[in-house]
Every structure is written in C-alpha cells, then in structure tokens.
C-alpha cells in the first residue's frame, strides 16, 4: 500500500475529526509536535523536532490529583485523568524507539504508571521513516533503522514521492482501514537514508563498568554548565519531581519534568547531596543512558536522535564520549570475570 505525499493534508484532516492529531511543526519558532489544525503548518521536512514527542505521554507538568479537607477535617483526593485519544503523525523511528524505552520504565517491572498507561493506550503512532539525516543523527549506531519502527502502529517508509504504508499493529490496521480514500495499492522502495555520523558502541556498555572512577568523566563534566537542556530535549529522559500547589484547604499534586543535571535533583531533606558536583551528575546521566538502563532493561537509553548534540550550549557531545570510551584501554569487567 502506498500513500502519495500530496494526500497527507487531506488524510490528516480526516484523521483530526474527533481526536487530537499531533504533527511536527514550527510553532512560534520552536519545532515540536503541535496539534494539527488551523494555523499549524506541518513540517515533515524536519528530520527532528527540537522538543521530543515524549510530552504526549509524559507532559512536562502533569496534574495527578486534587486534594482537600472536608468539613470533618478528613482529607479527600480526586485523581485527574486528562488522557484522551491522540495521534502522533510523523514521529521518527528514533523517537519511536524512545517510546519503547518509556514503555519499559512506566509499564514494566511490576509498576504501572496509570497516567502514562492511559495516555499510551490512547495514542496511535504513525511513524514516518527518514530519507535523509541531520548531521547530528546517529540512530543507526544505536540500533535504530531510519526507515523502520517495529513498535509504531503504522509505519510510513519514505520512498520519495510516496510513502510505503505498513500497518504493524491491530490498532494500525484498524486505522489504515479508514484510509482507503487516500492510499492506493502498490509498492515502492524506501529511500536509503545516509547517515554521516556514526559511533561504535561495541563493548562500550561493558567497558563503562570499569570506568566509574576514570578521568574521562572529569574531562567531560568540567565544561558542562549543569543546565537541563539535554534532559529536556531528550526523548527518553523521564525523571520527574512530584510537588504541589496549595491554597487554603485544597491543592493540586502534580509531577513535572526534573533534570539530573540540577544540583537540587539529588538534594536530600537533611541537606546532604550524594551528587554534589558536576562530575557526579554528568557521570550519572551518561552511565544511565549507556549502561544502567542497558543492564536493567536490555536496551540503550540513547536512541541517537542527536538533539542533545545539537542543543548543548557547550557542545558536550555524547558521540565523542562514546568514541572516547571506545578508545579507553580498560579491561571490561564482564571479560575480566
């Protein structure tokens, strides 16, 4: 089945009836996933949006519950559920991989995060493959195929003039069944996407175990500003902080994105901070991306989207770190055993 690119807008218009469809767009100069509608210009030419699509599942601020005290002095709580049917259309394979990571975090290992689960349940993902890459893209090195996203409900492989439509899940099949007016039978060959940036992940995960006290971290962290840019533009970073805004007798408990780059992140009530300096914070972030997550979930928490490489104010570059780790002659712990 193929979808002519000319039919994208009519298709989106038909899809947007009755649910929220998010498309990559430049809104007030910021490239992000925006609600399709009047005044929103789809930007399928963007390889990557500046802001990742994670806020569709995990908003920067998410109201959790409202609490108050009744006349008898008893606390009452009422949960918010703001999830609704959503479609993300034009998400890239790297961001689709990030949803795999988020699913692991929020849905597995005995914990199900209801807010995430509700939103995830109601999200239809339409992934568009990449025919070209940005200079910062290195998804292939992280095991992502720029023209494939197995976990997408619908995969649109870029074949130049047309997309090759693959319904990959029952949800996707049901959706595509409604697309008859816009698609046609046929097949096309996906355009091969050439990436200019590649890293060698071979042995990196294992090597990192022996590198905890290596000067590499000092050299890397020393130029970090400890701002939260990398974590907020990262499609897989998922740390949050729970807080509340209160009035006299009621309040709202919410969670909002937090960043392990902030000193306050690990600050304990008693004043002790187990990660007091940049060194510990930067090390933690990259260890989490490249090792801890791998050990817990069997996959890397970096999907190679290149957003942090692009946006870091001091060009602190994860690909260089990976290269440097590769160049370190440390015996990986796994082999030593």
């Amino acid at each position: 089945m193929i979808l002519n690119k000319k039919n994208l807008t009519p298709l989106l218009e038909s899809m947007a009836a009755g649910r929220d469809v998010f498309v990559p767009a430049r809104v007030d100069g910021v490239a992000k996933f925006a609600l399709f509608g009047e005044g929103v210009e789809c930007a399928f030419d963007l390889v990557n949006t500046t802001m990742p699509p994670k806020d569709l599942l995990f908003p920067q601020t998410q109201k959790m519950y409202h609490f108050d005290v009744d006349a008898n002095g008893n606390y009452r709580i009422r949960e918010y559920d703001e999830s609704r049917e959503q479609v993300v259309f034009g998400i890239r394979p790297c961001d689709m991989r990030s949803i795999v990571c988020l699913d692991e975090v929020f849905l597995t290992k005995g914990f199900v995060d209801e807010f995430y689960a509700n939103a995830r349940e109601k999200l239809l993902t339409v992934c568009i493959g990449c025919a070209s890459a940005a200079e910062t893209c290195f998804c292939e090195s992280m095991g992502v195929d720029p023209q494939a996203a197995p976990n997408a409900d619908i995969m649109l492989q870029d074949c130049g003039e047309v997309y090759r439509v693959l319904a990959q899940t029952p949800k996707g099949e049901a959706e595509v069944a409604n697309w008859a007016a816009f698609v046609e039978e046929g097949d096309a060959e996906p355009v091969a996407c050439e990436l200019s940036l590649a890293v060698d992940m071979d042995g990196v995960v294992d090597k990192l175990e022996g590198l905890y006290d290596h000067p590499i971290w000092e050299n890397l962290s020393i130029k970090c500003l400890n701002c939260g840019t990398c974590t907020y533009v990262c499609p897989t970073c998922h740390c949050f902080d729970i807080s509340q805004d209160m009035r006299r007798k009621d309040g709202v408990r919410f969670r909002c994105w937090d960043s392990c780059m902030f000193s306050e992140y690990t600050m304990m009530a008693g004043g002790h901070n187990p990660r007091p300096e940049k060194l510990e914070r930067v090390r933690n972030r990259f260890m989490h991306k490249l090792n801890f997550f791998e050990r817990r979930y069997g996959m890397s928490l970096c999907v190679g989207c290149g957003r942090c490489v692009e946006k870091c104010p001091v060009a602190l570059d994860i690909t260089r770190l990976i290269d440097d780790i590769g160049a370190c002659d440390v015996v990986p712990v796994a082999q030593a055993e």
């Binding site: 009035r247 006299r248 007798k249 901070n273 007091p276 300096e277």
Partner: protein, 660 residues
C-alpha cells in the same frame, strides 16, 4: 503544625458596628492551623487580656493573631502580654480591623469581606514566623565628645556633672573652638572670652573629663553602648606631665609662622599656645615649622625649658577605648569665599576681610589690640562696608541655605565699628534682616540708631581706586545703583561644615545632607539624635546656629547621653536582618545598601562536600541593624532575610490574600 489562636475584638461598636465579627470568627475557625478563635468586646481591656492569656494556656496556643485596632496602637501591648505567657512575643500578627477597615468602610458586607481577608493574611503570616529574642547590649558608661568648641564643652560638662566619664577629642591644640575667637557676643555684648574661657578651664579641671587635645578620631567600630574608638593624639613634642606652661620657650623660639588663630593677621612662634588662655595651657611644637625638627639645628626651647619637658622624639599616640555614646560637636568653618567671588577681588585686596578677621581686629588681645585698623596700612578705616550673605542664600555661587547667625553678628560688627570709630561711616548690604531671638531685633534697632546705613541689595563688584575700595551694588528698595567708596570691606561669609566631616561621619555612618551637615534622626522630633543609635549631635555640625542655640542643643544631646548611660544594658530589637551563610556568596551588595553600616563581609570557614572551604560571608551587627530590610532585596539568593518580615511570611501573606 503550629497552633494558632485568633482573638477578634469588637472594640465596642467601633469594629462590630461595621464588621460582622462573628462571621470573621467563623471563617477564621476554618483556617489551617487555627485551633482557637475568640471574640471579645474589648480585647485590650484587662478582662480581655486575661482571656487571651487563659486561652493560650488552656488551648496550648503557640502563635497569636489579634484582629483589632492598628498594630501601631496596641502591638506593644500584645507583645507585653505574650511576654507573660509561653508564647514568644514575636509570634504575633495584628490584623488592622479598625483604622483600616471598620472606620473607613460603611458597607457591612464589604467591610466584613475585607476583615476576613486581613485575618487570613495575618494567619498565613503568623504561621511562618519564628520566635525571636532580644539580646542584651551592655552599655559602657563613658561618652565621647568630638569637638571642644562651646557645644562640645557644654555637652561634656553636662554629662560629666551627671557623674559619667567623658572624653573630649579636640583637633586643635586648645579647647574653645570658634567662640573663643570672637570678641563680643550678641545681643548682650558679653566679652566672649570672659564667658568662654571659664568654661574651658572648668572642662580642663573637671574630674570626670579627659581632654585629648591635638587629637583626632582614627577608627571606629561597634555600636550603641559599645563604640570602640581609636584616637590619634598627634605628637606635641612636649611632655605635658613635666611642662608647667611657663611660656619661656615661646619667647625664645626663633621660627615665625602665620597665626591661624588671629586669622592670618599676625605671627606666632613654632612652639606655641593657640592663645594665652588656651586649655590645656601648655604649648605644642609645630613640627612643620620647628627649625630643630625640620633642619636639626636650633633646640633653643629645649635649652630654656626649666623642666626638661621638650622631647623632639615624640610620636603620634594611638589609644583605643570603648564608649557607650558619641556626640558630634564638630562645628563649622567659614566658606572659602575667595574662589567663589572674584568680583570681590577673590582675595587680592587685603582690606576685604571676613567677619572672623574683624572679630580679631576689634579684640583687645588681637593683633591690633582692639584698635580697628585695616590690614593693608594699619590706618583706621573711616568708611566700612559690611556685606551679608556672602556664600549664603546664593545657590549659584555658594550655599542655598541661610547661615542664620550673620544678620546678628553683622549688626554687632556695625555697632562695634561705630563704637570704636565714632566718625566712621558703616554701610551694610543685606538681602533680608532676620532677627528672631530674644533681644535680637532690639539689638538690630540699636545698631540702626548708632547710624549704620542698611542698603538692601547685593554688592556686585568691588574694585580698588587709589587706596579706596569701590563697592558697586543695587539698592533694591529704591531700584537705584549704589556706589560706596570704602576703606575696608567686611564679608559676612557662610558657615559650612568643618573640614574632614565627610570622612569622620562616614566612620560613624552618620548621615550627611547635600551640604555635608550631619543629619538628625527626625527634623522635629529627634533633633539631636542621628540615625545611628547612640550617636548624637550638638552645635553647628548639624547646621548653622548661633551660640545660644548651640548651647541649648548641647544640653539636649547631653541629656540623651545621660539617659542612655544610666542604663546598664539595652534590649536589642530582634526584628533585624539575618544571614543564611549557606546561601551567602559574600558579594557585598547588602553592605552597599545598609544605611547603618551594620553589615560587613568576613571570611569564614565552612565544611562543604566534606571539604574545608574558607569563603566570605556577610555578617550583621545586631547592635547597628535597625531592621529596615533594604539589604534583603539586594540579595538575589535570599541569603539575607528580615526576621519578623521574612520573604516567606510576606509571600504567604500575598498567597493568602489571593488564594485562600
């Protein structure tokens, strides 16, 4: 969780007439952390207060909100009440339900709604307050008076007579100040020396007064009750313990120096007393002009001194003592008119003199032994022009203010001249004649009777024709040009603060106005206090004054000092700034903004991340801080906070109004 008690007052019908106090109480019961609400007809009455006390005990209340009249009225009452209870007196907030609510609104519903908001804000604030404690500041029962003129001497005598130790620091070699230079004093025409020199010897001999002449304040630290002052006593080169003041040295000294006391109109020796009746009555050596000290040759004084008191090796001495109170009596000087008034010759005419020079000319012990002789040729001037307001009331050239004493002393000068030169002519150019004071206008009228000719207008130019000084001016009453040919011109110049006042006042963080006069704490109600607690003002350092006013203020300053020194200790105001040293980065923005010099930056050692770190942090001196809170706003990190009005408490008050 705190336990807040809310006490709402009807104030008879003053509040209850407009505000539904019971409705406010009902709402207050629903506020967080409020455990008890009580209404009362008169909370401030004895039974009302008793009720508050009982409730505090019975209900285990730890913070109190009173909804009643203005805190400006009864906050001290409530604090006093709480002092007798387990509740800290500063765990109190007063909601102003009367002056700012019931008395200014008529609609009961609207006023009640506002009262509810005010109580909410008070509850929100009180929940965030912390107990505060005054500290006792000991008072050193000793006063320092800076300046030994008439104001300083009077202050010192009054304090000393009350039984307290006083030190006078005088930068000249003798007490006496400006008054002792004067010939006679208006309006009674007492001989100035005759009333001033007895004061000087009284001071010099008083058992409670230490005179440090030829001395200046070097350094100050501390605060009310505890000013640590370092005084530099300049080298006198004479051992005052040995010197008898016989004066043999002065008669033999070969060096000749312009005599400043005689306003430059005579000469003195290098070893000298300022004037014969000087106190201390002992000479000093003027190191700048002494031949022995400058060239190494001479030493005559040492040879003639019968007691061997001369010591050429003498050095400046620094002594530090603690004083409970400080009085500024630093006086004035005359404005340097020469650069300001080139049209009056700018100093190139010897016979254009100042009022102070005239005082010395008519003084029997002055350079002319009391004969009015003009400086240039020592002849008797037959025609004298007196010009008032030279440098005063002249914002374009000098000072905008009126120097206050000149009207009277110019009348005195005219009178004295006409008295000594009966056939002389005296013209007084004036802008206004201001004579408010007992016997002052009568004195002025007598001068007119004496024949002084008053011309209303400024002199625009003085130039020399032969040996005459031609004064051109305008008589603004007749709108005519006036030209007076004079033998001598007396300029009644403006008073300005004494030299060095800016540096000295800065050491004590005493405020100065734009003209550098020291600023009183309140122009009407605290005229002799400064904004720095424990520092007082006497005499002309605060602004131009005549002698009676100076003496008057000296007495007032002394009574303030006596009141302070009578106490053994002071209770500090605990609502002052506090530094959170963890947050403070020591950049010193707060130091800049503090009007009291209460904040300093000190290096301190901390343990941070298991490391010892030495870094600068701000430190607040609780004796100096008055609790204005200006520093808190400059502190971006919020390291500086004002106890009693903390950032947190104000923010929650705002939130309470908006969201509760």
């Amino acid at each position: 969780m705190s336990r807040i008690g809310v006490f709402l007052c009807y104030c008879g019908s003053n509040i209850a007439g407009t505000v539904d106090v019971e409705a406010v109480a009902e709402m207050a019961r629903s506020l967080p952390e409020v455990v008890y609400v009580e209404t009362n007809k008169y909370t401030c009455s004895d039974p009302g207060q008793e009720g508050v006390k009982n409730a505090i005990i019975e209900k285990g209340i730890d913070r109190v909100v009173v909804g009643a009249c203005s805190p400006r009225m009864h906050e001290p009452t409530w604090r006093k009440l709480l002092a007798d209870t387990p509740v800290n007196p500063y765990m109190l907030e007063v909601a102003n339900l009367r002056e700012q609510c019931s008395w200014v609104h008529k609609d009961r519903e609207v006023a009640t709604a506002k009262a509810i908001d005010l109580v909410k804000m008070a509850v929100a604030k009180v929940a965030r307050l912390q107990p505060l404690h005054s500290i006792e500041i000991p008072v050193h029962k000793k006063a320092l008076v800076i300046g030994g003129g008439i104001a300083g001497m009077q202050t010192a005598l009054d304090i000393a007579d009350a039984g307290f130790q006083v030190t006078i620091v005088e930068r000249e070699t003798s007490l006496g100040g400006k008054m002792v230079m004067l010939d006679k004093t208006f309006p009674t025409m007492d001989c100035s020396a005759c009333i001033c020199t007895p004061k000087m010897s009284e001071v010099g001999n008083h058992p409670n007064i230490t005179v440090k002449s030829y001395s200046e304040v070097e350094n100050v630290s501390g605060y009310i009750g505890n000013f640590e002052v370092t005084i530099r006593e300049k080298a006198k080169f004479i051992d005052y313990n040995l010197c008898t003041g016989c004066g043999a040295c002065e008669t033999k000294c070969p060096a000749k120096v312009t005599n400043a006391f005689e306003q430059g109109m005579s000469q003195r020796t290098a070893i000298y007393k300022m004037f014969p009746q000087a106190v201390p009555a002992k000479p000093v050596i003027d190191a700048e002009h002494c031949l022995k000290l400058t060239t190494g040759k001479c030493g005559v004084c040492s040879k003639v001194c019968p007691t061997g008191a001369i010591n050429y090796e003498d050095e400046d001495k620094l002594t530090t003592e603690t004083y409970g109170a400080v009085v500024f009596a630093t006086g004035y000087k005359l404005i340097d008119w020469k650069p300001l008034y080139p049209e009056y010759g700018g100093g190139k005419y010897e016979d254009v003199i100042t009022g102070l020079q005239f005082e010395r000319l008519v003084n029997a012990s002055g350079p002319t032994e009391g004969h009015v002789l003009r400086p240039s040729d020592r002849t008797e001037p037959k025609s004298v022009v007196i010009i008032k307001c030279v440098g005063s009331r002249d914002p374009n050239k000098g000072k905008a203010y009126c120097s206050r004493a000149c009207c009277m002393y110019s009348a005195k000068h005219a009178h004295q001249y006409l008295d000594k030169v009966p056939d002389g002519k005296c013209y007084v150019f004036y802008m206004d004649v201001r004579t408010p004071g007992k016997g002052y206008d009568e004195f002025y009228m007598n001068t007119l009777h004496d024949g002084a000719q008053y011309i209303r207008g400024r002199v625009s130019k003085i130039y020399k024709e032969g040996d005459k000084l031609i004064c051109k001016g305008e008589d603004t009453l007749t709108s005519s040009q006036v030209t007076v040919s004079a033998d001598m011109v007396v300029l009644e110049t403006a008073m300005v603060p004494a030299d060095g006042i800016d540096e000295l006042a800065a050491k004590f963080t005493v405020g100065r106005d734009a003209d550098s006069w020291l600023v009183e704490a309140h122009a009407k109600l605290r005229p002799v206090e400064t904004n720095t607690a424990g520092i007082y003002l006497a005499g002309t350092c605060q602004g131009p004054k005549d002698i009676p006013d100076s003496v008057c203020q000296a007495g007032a300053a002394a009574s303030k000092v006596i009141g302070l020194l009578n106490k053994d200790a002071l209770q500090s105001n605990p609502q002052i700034s506090r530094v959170n040293e963890t947050l403070c980065q020591g950049d010193g923005a707060c130091v800049n903004i503090c009007p009291y010099g209460a904040i300093s930056i000190v290096e301190k050692q901390f343990r941070e991340n298991s490391r010892k770190v030495v870094r600068p942090v701000a430190q607040v001196n609780p004796g100096l801080c008055q609790g204005c809170g200006a520093c808190t706003v400059t502190c971006r990190a919020g390291a500086m906070d004002l106890l009693g009005y903390t950032n947190e408490s104000i923010m929650r008050e705002v939130d309470a109004l908006c969201q509760w």
